[in-house]
């Protein structure tokens, strides 16, 4: 599964994207956040406050309880500040 990171989440993790193999018990976006946060200090730092992390599955905004089934590309980013 392809993961993308933007803005300060990208900076804290230190990479723009990566491909990961997920364990079977990682079923939702919030499961994925917990799993990532346990991968190392840089991930723990990026996901220290999950409330300010937003996610998109295949380029659509989703909520933390969204299912990962069928997802190809999951992005994590802070609240948007465009416009």
């Amino acid at each position: 599964m392809k993961l993308l990171y933007f803005a300060w989440i990208r900076e804290r993790i230190g990479k723009e994207q990566e491909d990961v193999e997920l364990p079977a018990d990682v079923k939702t976006v919030e499961d994925l956040v917990s799993w990532l946060a346990a991968r190392g200090d840089e991930y723990a730092h990026a996901f220290a406050n999950p409330k300010v992390v937003r996610a998109a599955i295949d380029r659509h905004h989703v909520k933390p309880d969204a299912s990962l089934t069928g997802a190809r590309e999951i992005a994590f980013f802070p609240p948007m500040t465009g416009g």
């Binding site: 300060w8 998109a56 992005a75 980013f77 802070p78 948007m80 500040t81 465009g82 416009g83």
Partner: protein, 149 residues
């Protein structure tokens, strides 16, 4: 609809022209231009750097435009959003809406800007003297977007 993400500045007159030329059904055109200010609430800034999520940004803008077209009888919509480094006084975003009457053009322009602020995947980083930091999202932008639900 026209959607463009680009580093370069845009020409507002040319965008209006491209939308209206040769047409006699458009009675009202509203444009919104967002400009990088030299001072934020807590001090001067040297520049903004805008990061975006390529692919999703275009798709998300297209979804907002489609929603605006469902709500109002629009005859044209253009959204241009710049990315990269932008200095104070330079433009950031352009929204052009056209309709036969003014109310639809104004409402759709405001709707699109409220949504771009809170839903389009762009992030601004402020550059200050000797320091940079990511701009935090504003509660009043969320509230402005919530009006349309």
């Amino acid at each position: 609809m026209t959607i463009r993400l680009q580093r370069e500045a845009f020409d507002i007159g040319r965008e209006i022209d491209a939308m209206t030329r040769g047409r006699t059904d458009i009675g009202a055109v509203v444009t919104f231009t967002g400009i990088c200010r030299g001072t934020e609430d807590d001090g001067p800034i040297a520049a903004l750097t805008l990061e975006h999520y390529p692919g999703m940004a275009e798709e998300e803008i297209a979804r907002h435009i489609a929603e605006a077209e469902r709500r109002w009888p629009l005859l044209g919509v253009t959204v241009i959003h710049r990315y990269g480094r932008i200095e104070p006084g330079e433009t950031i975003v352009l929204v052009v809406t056209a309709s036969s009457h003014r109310q639809a053009a104004f409402a759709a322009g405001e709707f699109l800007m409220d949504y771009l602020k809170t839903r389009a995947p762009f992030w601004k980083r402020e550059e200050r003297t000797g320091d940079t930091r990511w701009v935090e999202a504003k509660d009043d932008d969320d509230e402005a977007a919530a009006r349309w639900r």
